[in-house]
């Protein structure tokens, strides 16, 4: 191996949190001017590894070499001094400040006591121009599109003359077209000898953009190959560690009769939504972030106002203005962000699990503890929640177990229709498989499920039918009985490139 080629070597990195080994002896090598994809399921250890590189976490053991020099990266500033820059998935800009101010936030250029506004503006403009973004740097960031904000983040790394840039899912929130131009910039950066670590879930773009691909699973690197030496299926298999059919359960349950019908639903986020849900099916909702899927779920659950349109439950019209009314109609919603809106993290598992069914064991001030324990035991066993005890706080559980608590909470309530918004986000691979099988079992047991997901493999392998949304409208509805689901076709609908006649 030609040692000189490597701009970055991370060798035998180990890291554990509270006794859990998150990184088990990981080694990663990055060449000058290379775009290396780093992929893996959530919880595989990608972000921990990158946070160690960025000086946010300290490694337990291992060595990092940058430009043939052994280094210790103890703070984010130290990383910056080594010309390593992170572009995080969540955009970390202050909306009220201008582009230039954001770029220099925390390391403002000074002339004497005062900020050197002029020089900061010039330098920022230089970087912005390099990215061919046609906006003045005095523009306030909240006026920019998400894609533009992403570019500002990248501009930030250019201003500090970064040689290694880590991009964490840069295309998660932007459209295909914007992604396309982002790739062009990245290739330009590569030509200038800048090395890029590119974290993404989208295999297709990885195969178009990257030079090599590193797959992580359960805190280890399981595969590291040049892009020409591998293919999609191989990568997916390496990621999940088993064959895809086993993983998803793959039974596409078919519905029996229509239980829910939505006609011409519109509000400030949604335009003329029409679809039906069959009893016992899994109806997948695909689309890009911001396509209106979560907003549709909120509208059905009575969280957002409906301006026009009708909803029929078993052919009877229902009007749900509050979540409580929706629950009375038998609709449940497992929200996208479980920490924000699904769980009471500071409360026990038992509290969270029984919150919706308090009526069943509390009458006035009489608490039937035995009955409560029966409910808690039934669901925690059914879903195999791994816990120290029912009084453990939910904040101490892993993502997968937290999600199981949220699901149990709703199963205990027993809705007929269960809307699941990103049911496996932030969940490790093992728990993912369990949740997929659980969803299949629920459908078999007669629950009608609406599953919103941004992970296409999940949508394709689970759904009975797929509804694709784009900018608040439904652009296509696909049925597993009529067609084989093809990722490219779904993406076409999702980016608005193709619209079904019936949906117009």
């Amino acid at each position: 191996m030609d040692n000189k080629n490597y701009v970055l070597k991370m060798e035998h990195i180990k890291k554990s949190f509270y006794g859990v080994n998150v990184l088990k002896d990981v080694s990663l090598f990055l060449k000058t001017g290379e775009i290396q994809a780093l992929i893996g399921e959530n919880g595989a250890g990608k972000s921990t590894l990158m946070k160690i590189l960025g000086g946010i976490y300290a490694k337990d053991s291992g060595e990092i070499t940058v430009n043939q020099k052994a280094v210790e990266i103890k703070t984010p500033l130290a990383a910056r001094d080594l010309r390593i820059c992170m572009v995080h998935q969540e955009i970390s800009l202050v909306p009220q400040l201008s582009i230039a101010d954001n770029i220099f936030l925390g390391s403002e250029l000074k002339r004497g006591l005062f900020e050197d506004k002029k020089q900061m503006k010039e330098k920022a403009q230089e970087a912005i121009d390099l990215l061919e973004m046609n906006v003045p740097v005095t523009t306030k960031v909240h006026r920019l599109s998400v894609a533009q904000q992403q570019l500002v983040e990248i501009a930030k790394s250019l201003v500090f003359d970064a040689r290694i840039i880590v991009l964490d899912e840069p295309t998660a929130a932007i459209s295909e077209k914007e992604a396309e131009s982002l790739f062009a910039y990245l290739k330009k950066l590569k030509q200038e000898g800048i090395s890029i670590i590119y974290i993404s879930h989208r295999l297709e773009e990885i195969f178009r953009l990257c030079d090599s691909i590193t797959v992580m699973r359960d805190g280890m690197i399981v595969s590291n190959k040049n892009i020409s030496e591998t293919n999609r299926d191989e990568v997916i298999a390496a990621m999940v560690g088993r064959s895809i059919t086993d993983f998803f359960g793959n039974n596409h349950p078919q519905g029996t009769e229509t239980i829910l019908e939505v006609k011409g639903l519109s509000n400030r986020y949604l335009k003329n939504i029409n679809f039906t849900l069959q009893q016992g099916e899994i109806l997948g909702f695909a689309g890009l972030v911001g396509a209106g899927r979560t907003e549709l779920a909120r509208a059905l659950f009575g969280l957002d106002k409906i301006d026009e349109g009708k909803i029929y439950l078993n052919e009877k019209e229902i009007k749900c203005r509050t979540p409580y009314e929706a629950m009375e109609c038998g609709i449940g919603l497992i929200p996208e962000d479980r920490k924000q809106s699904g769980l009471f993290l500071e409360k026990s598992i038992s509290y969270n699990l029984t919150l919706l069914v308090l009526k069943e064991f509390i009458r006035g001030i009489r608490v039937n503890g035995a009955k409560r324990d029966v409910i808690v035991r039934e669901y925690s066993e059914k879903l195999a929640i791994k816990m120290a005890g029912v009084h453990q706080h939910c904040s101490q559980l892993s993502g997968g177990n937290q999600q199981k608590v949220v699901i149990s909470k709703w199963l205990a309530y027993g809705p007929k229709i269960l809307i699941m918004d990103e049911p496996t986000r932030g969940v490790d691979v093992g728990a993912k498989a369990e949740i997929y099988h659980l969803i299949n079992d629920l459908a078999k047991a007669g629950y009608s499920i609406i599953m919103i997901s941004s992970e296409l493999p999940e949508i394709i392998n689970m759904s009975s039918r797929i509804v694709v949304m784009h900018e608040g409208k439904i652009t296509g509805i696909l049925d597993s009985r009529e067609t084989n689901f093809v990722q490219e076709e779904i993406m076409d609908y999702a980016i608005g490139g193709k619209i079904d006649e019936e949906c117009k």
Partner: protein
Amino acid sequence: MKNANSKSQNKAVMLYKDFLKTNGGILIALVIMFVFLSFSNQHFFTSNNMANLFNYFTTNCVLAMCMMCVLITGEIDLSISSFVALSGIILCVFLNKGIAFLPALLLTLVIGALVGVVTGTIIAYSGMPSFIVTLAMQGVIRGAAYIISSGARVSSSDKWLFHLTSTRYGGIPLPTIIILIIAVILGFLLYRTSFGKHMYAAGGNREAAIYSGINVKKIVIVTFAISGALACLAGSFVASRVTSGQPAAGAGYEGDAVAAAVLGGTAFTGGRGTVSGVIIGALVIGTLTNGMNLLEINSYWQQICKGLIIMLAVMIDTIKQRRSN
């Protein structure tokens, strides 16, 4: 049978351990203060001084319970100090009109609850922060107290008004008994009813509560009603001690109420708080104030001490929370 017995015993042990875990630190502080004061000052452990201490404690404890309830739901009520003045005055006005004591007291509490409903409704439906709304209400209610009383004290010679704080049953002052009863009722409300669980939910994670179909608006409104009624009870205690209602009464009491609640482990961010903790918190504040008076510490220094102690307590709590996460 034996099995059931040991089971309930286990439960009691667990509750006891839980109690010590959440309130252990503050309890030790209280005991140390008590022992120190008993030995260092001959006047401390006398029945006279204890009566004094409990006088202050009762008012503050009731107000701290108001504060605890609103803090648990993720709100704050700064207007309780003005309720103290208003309730004293309207109670005496009612008594002077010839209404018997008990109905007059109940009427006062109901009025307090209604004003609380107004405050709660404004907060729940306008989306304004409760800090601002209750700060405004503090002025409004205080102003109303001045207008009703024409700015002067309203005296009443009703004998029950006098008895409310001076009667003792088996040596225990009546207000202390009332506080214990309220503590039990609040305990039942918070720990054993759906409403109580929903209060914790509304404060612990407002968004998750809404997603769970909980009517958060209703919870907020009812909580402010409870707070208003309890604050009026505290005001009645104050009025009873001076057998009159005074428009300036209770000014600044909300600060000590917050202090007692927070010392007792109530989370300022909502979703956490216990009745037992608040009682201990109020005892600490009461003992501290009383002790510093006995030790003849200058009242300006007393304020500094209190401030620092509250900060210390919150700091310890914050560190504890951070550790557990």
